[in-house]
Amino acid sequence: MIELLNVTKRYPGGHLALANCDLKIARKEMVFITGRSGAGKSTLLKLIGAIEKPTSGHIKIGEQDISRLRRDTIPFFRLNIGMIFQDHKLLYDRSVLDNVLLPLHIRDLHGVEATQRARAALNKVGLSNRERSRPITLSGGEQQRLCIARAIVGRPTLILADEPTANLDDDYATEIMEILKALNDSGDTIIIATHDQGIIARYGKRRLVLADGSLS
């Protein structure tokens, strides 16, 4: 269970991104967070992923108050999370396969076992035939799918997807959403930030609206 208690996030410049947000998300739930650009969607996901710290308030994941995490325990917390970044954050000087191997190496998994798992993840997102390619040679949709493969290869129980279908054609967007839906069906908690109302309507899941830093 994820719980936000009166969370406020003010960026160092003084900009107020989130104001007094309260939120509860159950395990195995699939939730959409929507709102205009600049509403604070990415900020909310970064807070849940312990990438940013709240200015005030508490964020609890399970029993853990992640707003209180020590710097050296944050990496271990992040291992439970699969993050799909709005700006992909792929390693462009490494192959597709190496990008997916990275989370496994971080988990101290190497060798054949790691390669098998990475290939399985690539297979899941339909990129098996591109494992030797550089990410830069992939289409936008393929890069997005590579992000998903990297996010799921470590078998996290919580997936945070920041605009996973942004800038994608409908066909690609549907493909990506189907992958996320399947992950949710198999038991993962999934939080998706998107401003694509069509997609939200199609899946009929819970929808949270962010407007000027406030949830409704």
């Binding site: 990438i51 990496p75 992040r78 999370i81 993050m83 954050k89 190496h105 101290d108 190497h110 470590g154």
Partner: protein
């Protein structure tokens, strides 16, 4: 098992990074190698000097040349007096006639026959009881008015010893100085590497990499670079001794000696290699600790 494959992965990554910029890395490895080969080479020369001088040091005998006008009686009396001195085991009087005869046998007879009179003095061969007191004994003998000069190998060996002490100090200070240079070279290389990998580091952290995980490949890289530099140093100094030995052999032949400089042995090579690797690791460690702090 996992630990092994894991270190294997890190080492392979480090090797791949090395090959990513072969020329600049080759250049730093060469610089490291040259820097390390100086103290290594000096160390080799010093240990050879040691070996050579040890063979002299056992020769404690000294030859005391008397003034040419000293008569046989006086020489005999002096020999007896020296025999009575403390620290003297044996004294042998060599009359000037015997000295000349010996010289004639040594192949200088052409020159010697052209001389009308025997130019050589009487001499005493003095054998001390204790090789450590040679200098004092020499000084006491000098005080006899009949003594003209004293030739002593041991005295030379002692002078050589002083030179060796200086050489050893030089070797160690050079080693220390160049180790610091090596730390700086590797530290700087690693720093550039870290900046080149900035995105990868940031992304790895976002998906759960610990500082240890981030640090590891750079440490491997530093150790690998240091180790390869050590290898270059071994090749350079070993090759240097090999090359010097050709001249040494030629020189030794003219003295009827088969003396050769001893080359790097396995132990010293291993020491150089291990030291270089550890220095590389240390340089990388310092650089990583320092540079990664800038990224937070």
């Amino acid at each position: 098992m996992n630990l092994v494959t894991h270190h294997h992965t890190s080492l392979r990554d480090a090797w791949q990074r090395l090959r990513l910029h072969p020329w600049s890395n080759l250049f730093s490895i060469l610089v490291i190698g040259i820097a390390l080969s100086l103290p290594t080479g000096l160390f080799l020369l010093m240990s050879n000097l040691d070996r050579a001088s040890n063979s002299f040091a056992e020769q404690t005998e000294m030859t005391v040349f008397l003034k040419t006008k000293t008569e046989m009686d006086a020489a005999q009396a002096l020999a007896d007096a020296v025999r009575a001195e403390p620290g003297v085991r044996r004294v042998r009087l060599i009359p000037r006639e015997d000295a000349l005869a010996e010289l004639q046998h040594s192949g200088l007879d052409d020159i010697l026959t052209s001389l009308t009179a025997n130019p050589l003095p009487h001499s005493l061969v003095v054998e001390p009881t204790d090789s450590l007191r040679v200098r004092q004994l020499e000084q006491r003998l000098r005080q006899h008015p009949e003594v003209e000069a004293i030739a002593s190998v041991a005295a030379w060996a002692q002078r050589l010893d002083a030179l060796k002490t200086f050489g050893a100090a030089l070797t160690w200070s050079l080693a220390l100085l160049l180790s610091l240079a090596l730390l700086a070279i590797i530290g700087n290389t690693i720093r550039l590497q870290i900046y080149a990998q900035r995105d990868a580091i940031e992304i790895s952290r976002l998906i759960g990499a610990t500082d240890r995980f981030i640090r590891r490949p750079f440490l491997y890289f530093g150790a690998l670079q240091g180790g390869l530099g050590g290898l270059v140093a071994i090749i350079l100094s070993g090759g240097g001794i090999f090359w010097l030995n050709r001249s040494v052999a030629e020189l030794a032949v003219t003295y009827g000696s088969s003396f050769r400089l001893a080359n790097l042995d396995l132990q010293t090579s291993a020491l150089v290699l291990v030291t270089a690797t550890l220095l590389g690791l240390l340089g990388a460690w310092a650089s990583v600790a320092h540079t990664l702090r800038d990224f937070d």
